[in-house]
Amino acid sequence: MGNVCYVPLAGGESVSFALPNPAAGADWLYTIPAGYEYEIRALQCKLICSLVVADRRPLFVIYDTAGNDHWRLYFSPANYTLAGETSVFSLYVGCQRTDYSFLTVVTSRQNNDTLPYNRLPAGYQIGTAFGGLDAADQWSEIRINALRWRV
């Protein structure tokens, strides 16, 4: 049979999933479900901004079960998302781009940054806490890839 290489249990289960859109003007948070630990490997999300003029100031966060910050990732002012823009954020473990933002067309922005190595127990949250969101701004296409273990 040769060298049959099965995925080791220690490696966890690789899963990909989408989150429902939050209400307009609201950030999104994903809560690690009971009975699992998650290692978030990559996430993508899209913000469609209204025409109300204000800088949308990116901030990605990890909270523990008491709401304490465990990680905060800001983007610099030069890379804020602006009114009328659609902004896609792709963050992943191993990404060597940091604080990276690029207008692919006039109103379509692509952003990259790195995720920290992490192992999040049940109840921890990962998501956004943007500054300057307008009430009509909308998050969508929120997708996560993770390794997970039952505990």
Binding site: C5, S90, R97, Q110
Partner: protein, 148 residues
């Protein structure tokens, strides 16, 4: 017998996979086959552009695992545009500390450390910027794979 160091099964199997050239102006896509999980260690491909004048943008995507309702995707757009009549090579690998960099017509950037499940896909894209006569070719990738 001595200290015999066999490759650990836990480490998976390293394989080289060549992806067929796509049609002209088309993106290339690789799908993880049934029965395997994979981590992409490196991928290189070459890019040639026709003499038609226009900026070209190159990107890297991953999708899946549901093909018809994209569940997951990443986009890496290289900001240095390719102009008409030029050739480039794209070199992506895990842990590359060079990002979005073009040296001697080679683009360098990092890859995500993800274990892809069957049906997930990744590939190179023109991001809609290709023009007639443009071509991706010589697509070679190194992956670690496991049976599932």
């Amino acid at each position: 017998m001595g200290n015999v160091c066999l490759t650990p099964l836990e480490g998976g199997e390293i394989v080289i996979i060549t992806v067929p050239n796509p049609g002209g102006t088309s993106d290339w896509i690789y799908s993880v086959p049934a029965g395997y999980e994979m981590t992409l260690l490196s991928v290189t491909w070459q890019v040639s552009t026709s003499a038609l004048v226009g900026d070209r943008y190159i990107g890297y995507f991953s999708w899946g695992p549901v093909a018809d309702a994209v569940l997951y995707r990443m986009l890496t757009v290289f900001t240095t545009v390719i102009i008409a009549g030029q050739s480039r090579a794209v070199v992506l690998c895990l842990q590359s500390s060079r990002t979005n960099q073009n040296i001697v017509n080679h683009y360098h950037d990092s890859l995500p450390e993800i274990r892809y499940t069957p049906g997930m896909r990744w590939g190179g894209t023109w991001a809609g910027s290709s023009l007639p006569g443009d071509q991706f070719f010589n697509i070679v990738q190194t992956v670690i794979r496991w049976r599932v």
